[in-house]
Subunit: 347 residues, 2 copies
């Protein structure tokens, strides 16, 4: 039976360090309204959407740093962000939002939440597991910092796939698989998993979700396009570095979507922050055969929309990647028992 949802990556262009949070939220609201007009049911916003990508800066002062965080565990209580939740409820659009979270215990996480308009609440929270970058700032003053390992702890919620209620209800009714008046609760609800940015390069993360049946994996990202100065082995121009970053971003989304027989939606925070920090765009929707079916055309605020029929996951999940028949966990022990590399002995 067809199980179609209309989804969008809501790409967000430059957010300067001086931007007011309420103004940035207004841009998200504009994107969400436009999505609602186009009958989109699920909107995926980027990683750390509410501010400039602050881990590129070293803040000596905790107060200065804390401006970039949402405080407390419940993002729906944030005064700046509340209008976005209200708007989503009004238009009955689900959304995924990435932001920097400061818990009541004072711990920082790189977080995303799934807001279900039907349920009227956040139904899942994910905290980024694979933090890139360094704890200490670079000594080279020309190098752009990536201080996620300083500002965040690795996520402590694991990879918890979840059902997104009601998303395929219209599709089931239209195709006659649900009759008028019939109970819809749970019927065909898509199984979703959230990742954040660098997680997408780690096949372990995707696999943990698809071992729970995930049909749709969504993630936002902030990916530097001007990191040429950091790429030691192959000196390249900023233009080449940007092209290479985009190539890698597409490659891991396509490869992991195929090898996990799932759809994926990726959403970029992109453009030229503060007129000089270049982030790649390339927000994309990928199908379970690894083909990109919709992709950003700009480096600014933009909706990337596609209809996804989750039934298309079945071919992969039931054949080439039928885990029950093909996976051999007795050979995979190293993956979860050994963090780093242990080389074989010399002959």
């Amino acid at each position: 039976m067809p199980r179609v949802i209309k989804a969008a990556a809501a790409q967000v262009g430059a957010v300067h360090i001086t931007a007011r949070k309420a103004d940035t939220v207004q841009r998200l609201i504009n994107l969400l309204r436009e999505a609602a007009e186009q009958k989109v049911q699920l909107v995926v916003f980027p990683e750390c959407t509410l501010t400039t990508f602050f881990p590129r800066h070293f803040f000596a002062s905790q107060d200065e740093l804390d401006k970039y965080f949402e405080h407390g565990e419940d993002i729906t209580q944030s005064a700046d962000v509340k209008p976005l939740f209200d708007e989503a409820k009004k238009h009955a659009v689900d959304f995924v939002l990435g932001y920097a979270e400061r818990t009541s215990d004072g711990i920082g996480y790189n977080t995303s939440v799934y807001f279900s308009a039907g349920e009227g609440k956040v139904i899942n929270k994910y905290r980024k597991v694979h933090l890139p970058g360094t704890v200490e700032p670079f000594e080279d003053p020309k190098a752009t910092n990536q201080l996620e390992k300083r500002y965040f702890k690795p996520g402590n919620l694991g990879f918890q796939a979840f059902r997104a209620p009601g998303l395929v209800a219209d599709s089931l009714k239209q195709s006659g698989h649900v009759k008028d008046g019939e109970e819809l609760v749970g019927k065909g609800d898509p199984i979703v998993g959230m990742l954040i940015c660098n997680d997408r390069r780690w096949p372990e993360a995707w696999r943990c979700y698809t071992l729970q049946g995930a049909e749709l994996i969504v993630f936002g990202f902030n990916t530097g396009g001007n990191m040429a100065h950091l790429w030691g082995s192959k000196p390249m121009s900023p233009e080449e570095a940007q092209k290479e970053a985009l190539f890698h971003s597409r490659l891991v989304q396509q490869g992991n979507s195929y090898m996990n027989a799932c759809f994926s939606v990726s959403s970029a925070r992109c453009g030229l922050d503060d007129g000089k920090y270049d982030l790649i765009a390339g927000s994309a929707i990928c199908n379970p055969e690894g083909h990109i079916i919709a992709e950003a055309k700009t480096t600014g605020d933009e909706l990337v929309i596609a209809e996804l029929d989750l039934a298309e996951c079945r071919q992969g999940k039931e054949k080439t990647f039928d885990y029950d028949r093909h996976r051999r966990i007795e050979t995979y022990g190293l993956i979860s028992s050994q963090t780093g590399v242990v080389e074989p002995p010399l002959l």
Copy 2:
């Protein structure tokens, strides 16, 4: 320090069901000689190279089936294959060879061996872990069978990375990192892992090798290009199906090479077996950034050659994919503890 090896995929075109094994071995010898002339140090032959890809046929008779296997654990004792080992020793060329192995206990494995010319012996054996296909033949007489699950047991040797002795010796001497007369044993020996065909679609397999520091992953494949009749969800022409199969083959090689920061060499048994069974070509050498640097131009016997500087793995292994700093094994438990899918509860 540069650690350069010259490697080749030795692609092998059609092998008909009537082909004599000794004649097929002669084709491999021709490829190996040509490689030696071009100063190639390592030649990678395909999966089940010595016969037609027999798992497409149902054999009721064990005797009939056994013609396609090499018997006993030591392939170097096989009369038909011995000339290949002799030739490799003579030219000082290492090679990887895939074949069907029948152990002295009567168990069938889809196997490959690494022959070290310097050591004068097989130094590693791998038995395919991820067997595709079915135990029972298809009922549809038009469907091409894939009876690997009937004819083989899943490999029982795990993923054992190993050192390939001496391969970078010339490179170290030329760059002055090893002085004349200096002891070479073990110095910079590449760390290698072998996969076979369908294994390449399973990120677990690659990761098990690179958790042992693998810098080079090699695999042969037999991949049907005319499987359109089996692809239920998206009816496509044979030409489209072949294009799609090649797309997936490239995607997983590129994606996994990048996410594991290793080189890879893939070698196809390809062409039109018996004038009707189409196998894709596309033997390829991929670098640790996920770019294909050499690729087959034909669907017949062909060498695909490239110089690989293993030092290019360092960028990935020491930064983006520095396992020690980034992997979070406390979140990966499902991967090695749960074979199939366990879906989340309904909300």
